[in-house]
Amino acid sequence: MTQLIGLYSYWVVIVLMMAGLYIMIARYNLVKKVIGLGLFQTSIFYLYITMGKVEGGTAPILVEGKELVYSNPLPHVLILTAIVVGVATSAVALALIVRIHETYGSIEEDEIKDIEAMEPDA
C-alpha cells in the first residue's frame, strides 16, 4: 500500500501521459492534438524532476563549511533543455496549423482528409 501511495508522483506521470496520448489519438482537431502532445511531454518532464528529488534536499548551492543534502541537479538541467525543445515543437506545430488553416480552411483532420481525398494523385 505504501508503495502505491508512496510513489504517487509516478501515478501523476502515468495519468498525464495517458491523457496526452489519448488526446493525440482520439481528437481530430489539430490544435487539440498539439495540446495532447504538450501534455505528454510535460509528463516526461515531471518524470525526470521527481527522479532527481532527494528527501529533505534543497537547492544544490554549495556553502562553505556546511554539509548539505541537495537534490540531484542534473535532471533539472536536462529538463530545461527538453522544455526548450518542447516549446519549439509546439511553435512549429502551431505555425503549421496556421498554414493548414490558410490553405484548407479547416483544422479538423477528418475534414482535411475529405478534401485531400478529392485531390488528384500527388
Binding site: L30, P75, L78, V85, T89, V92, L96, R99, I100, Y104
Partner: protein
C-alpha cells in the same frame, strides 16, 4: 587543430545556420550552406582516417571530462555514417539550387537553407555523440528542421504530411526521452560508455527493461521501420524533391545507426538478443517491411510515393541484417545503409529532374520520356538497377552479403523471402523503365519534342552520386571492409 575535429564537425554547420538567416539572400545563403557542408564532409573524412589510424576517439566537449561533461565518441561505425551524411547533404545541396529556385519562392530561400543546415547538424550530432541525452537533443534539432523542410513542398498536402510527421516524430522522440530517463534512474549516468558498463550490474533491471522498450519503439518510429512507417510515404511524396533526396539518404539511416548503437554498444548484444529475443520483434518487422512494402510500391502511380514505399522496404533489409546479430549480418546491414543511401538519393534526384522539366511524377504519363531526358532516365535506370540488386551496382553487394549472412545462420526462409522481394523490385522498377522507354500505344503518346534535359547543375551532382555508387558496386570490398570492421567493433562493445 586535428584534436578539435569532432567539435568542428558540428560547429561549422550549426553556426552557418544563423548566418544564413542574417544575410537573407538566396544565393549567398546557398553558398554558405554548401561551403559549410563541404567542410563538414572534409572533417568527417579526416575523422574516418584518424579513427582507422589510431582507434576510437573520445572527445570531451568544452574540456569537461566524461561523466560530468558531454563526450563525443567516434569509431569506425559513426565516422563512416557521418561522412555519408555530410557527403550526401553536400551533393544534394549542390543539386538543390536549381530545383529549389523553381519550387520555392525566392524570399524564403534563406530560411530553407538555414533549416537544412540545422537538420544536417542534428543528424551529424546524433551520430558522433557519446551521450545518451545529447542524442535526444540532436534528434529534436534535426526533426524540427525536417518538419520545416517538408512543409516547404509546393503541394498543400506537404503541410499535413509535415504535421503528421511532427506528431508521430515527437511521440517517437519523447519515447526515447522516457527511455533515457529510466536508464539514468537505473544507472546514474548518461554517458554511453558508462551506461554500457553499469547496465549489467544495475540493481533495477526492470527499469532497464522499460528503458529498452521505450527506446526501441521510439527509434523504430524515427527509422520508419515497418509497421511504424506511416509518416514516411506522405512526407517523402510532398516534400520538395531535394529535401526528399536528402532525407532518404540520411535521416532514416541515422536513426538506424542509433538503433545499432543502443542495441549493440549500450545494452550489448547479449542483453538485446540473448535475453530479450529482440529478433522476435525485428525479424517479423523486417520481413513484413520488405515484402509488403515492395508489393505496395508496385501499385503506386506517383513515382515519389513508389520510391518512398521502396525505402521502407529497403529499411526492412537493413533491419533484417541487424536482427541476425552476427558479424556477417551486421556488416550486410551497415553496408546497405551506405549503399541504399546512395541509391535512393540519386533516384530521388532523378525524380527531381523529371519534375523540373515535366512538372509532375505521375508514372503513367512519363511514357517515352527517354527520348526527351535520356541522361536523367539513364541515371534512374542505373540506380534502379541498384535497388533490384543487379551485379556491378551497390545493391548487389549488399544483397549478396545479406543473403549469404542469412544462409550462414541457416535462415533459408529469410533468404528466399529476400529474393522474392527483389523480384518485386524488378517489377516496380521495370514498370517505370518500360514506360520511360516505350510509347504506350501504337499511335500517339507524347510527341517527341526533342531533348529537354534538366540543367547541368542538377545533372552533375546526380551523376556524381551515380558514379560513386557504381564505383562501390565494382569495388565493393572497400565498403564491405569498413562495414566488417564496424560490425566487429559493435559486437565487441566499447573499448
Amino acid at each position: 587543430m586535428t584534436e578539435q575535429l569532432p567539435a568542428l564537425q558540428i560547429l561549422i554547420t550549426m553556426l552557418a545556420a544563423p548566418v544564413c538567416v542574417l544575410v537573407r539572400h538566396a544565393k549567398v545563403s546557398w553558398a554558405i550552406a554548401f561551403g559549410a557542408n563541404v567542410f563538414a564532409f572534409w572533417v568527417a573524412w579526416q575523422l574516418l582516417l584518424q579513427v582507422q589510424d589510431t582507434g576510437a576517439i573520445r572527445y570531451a566537449l568544452g574540456g569537461w571530462a566524461a561523466p560530468t561533461g558531454i563526450e563525443y565518441y567516434i569509431d569506425t561505425v559513426n565516422a563512416a555514417i557521418v561522412m555519408l551524411v555530410a557527403g550526401i547533404s553536400s551533393v544534394v545541396l549542390l543539386y538543390a539550387y536549381s530545383s529549389v529556385s523553381k519550387a520555392i519562392p525566392k524570399a524564403k530561400h534563406y530560411l530553407f537553407y538555414a533549416a537544412w543546415l540545422l537538420c544536417v547538424t542534428g543528424l551529424m550530432g546524433i551520430v558522433i555523440t557519446g551521450d545518451a541525452f545529447n542524442v535526444f537533443v540532436f534528434l529534436e534539432v534535426s526533426s524540427l528542421a525536417t518538419y520545416m523542410l517538408i512543409s516547404f513542398g509546393d503541394d498543400r498536402r506537404a503541410l499535413t504530411a509535415s504535421f503528421r510527421y511532427l506528431i508521430l516524430g515527437s511521440v517517437g522522440a519523447s519515447f526515447i526521452l522516457i527511455g533515457i530517463g529510466f536508464l539514468y534512474a537505473a544507472t546514474g549516468t548518461l554517458n554511453m560508455i558508462d551506461l554500457a558498463e553499469r547496465i549489467p550490474d544495475s540493481q533495477s533491471q526492470r527499469a532497464v527493461l522499460v528503458a529498452f522498450s521505450f527506446i526501441t519503439i521510439g527509434v523504430l518510429i524515427k527509422a520508419a521501420v515497418f509497421p511504424l512507417h506511416a509518416w514516411l510515404p506522405n512526407a517523402y511524396t510532398y516534400a520538395p524533391v531535394a529535401v526528399t533526396a536528402f532525407l532518404a539518404g540520411t535521416a532514416t539511416k541515422v536513426s538506424l545507426y542509433v538503433l545499432l548503437r543502443f542495441f549493440f554498444s549500450v545494452f550489448g548484444e547479449d542483453y538485446s538478443f540473448g535475453q530479450l529475443f529482440l529478433n522476435g520483434i525485428l525479424l517479423p518487422a523486417a520481413i513484413g517491411g520488405f515484402l509488403l512494402m515492395s508489393l505496395v510500391a508496385v501499385f503506386q502511380t506517383d513515382l515519389r510515393r513508389m520510391l518512398a514505399y521502396s525505402s521502407v522496404a529497403q529499411i526492412g533489409y537493413i533491419v533484417a541484417g541487424f536482427s541476425m546479430a552476427s558479424q556477417a549480418g551486421l556488416a550486410a546491414g551497415i553496408v546497405h545503409i551506405v549503399n541504399h543511401a546512395l541509391i535512393k538519393a540519386s533516384l530521388f534526384m532523378a525524380v527531381g529532374c523529371i519534375i523540373y522539366r515535366v512538372g509532375h511524377a505521375h508514372i503513367p504519363s512519363l511514357d517515352n520520356l527517354f527520348k526527351r531526358m535520356p541522361f536523367t532516365c539513364v541515371a534512374f535506370m542505373l540506380s534502379g538497377a541498384g535497388l533490384i540488386g543487379i551485379p556491378l551496382t551497390v545493391g548487389f553487394v549488399s544483397k549478396f552479403t545479406l543473403i549469404g549472412a542469412a544462409m550462414d545462420e541457416g535462415w533459408w526462409l529469410l533468404a528466399a523471402l529476400i529474393l522474392i522481394s527483389s523480384l518485386l523490385a524488378v517489377i516496380y522498377i521495370g514498370r517505370v523503365v518500360e514506360i520511360m522507354l516505350f510509347r504506350q500505344s501504337r499511335e500517339g503518346g507524347q510527341a517527341s519534342t526533342g531533348m529537354a534535359e534538366a540543367p547541368l547543375s542538377m545533372l552533375i551532382p546526380m551523376y556524381a552520386l551515380v558514379i560513386v555508387a557504381l564505383y562501390f558496386g565494382i569495388y565493393g570490398s572497400e565498403t564491405l571492409g569498413v562495414a566488417n570492421e564496424a560490425a566487429l567493433q559493435l559486437l565487441g562493445g566499447f573499448k
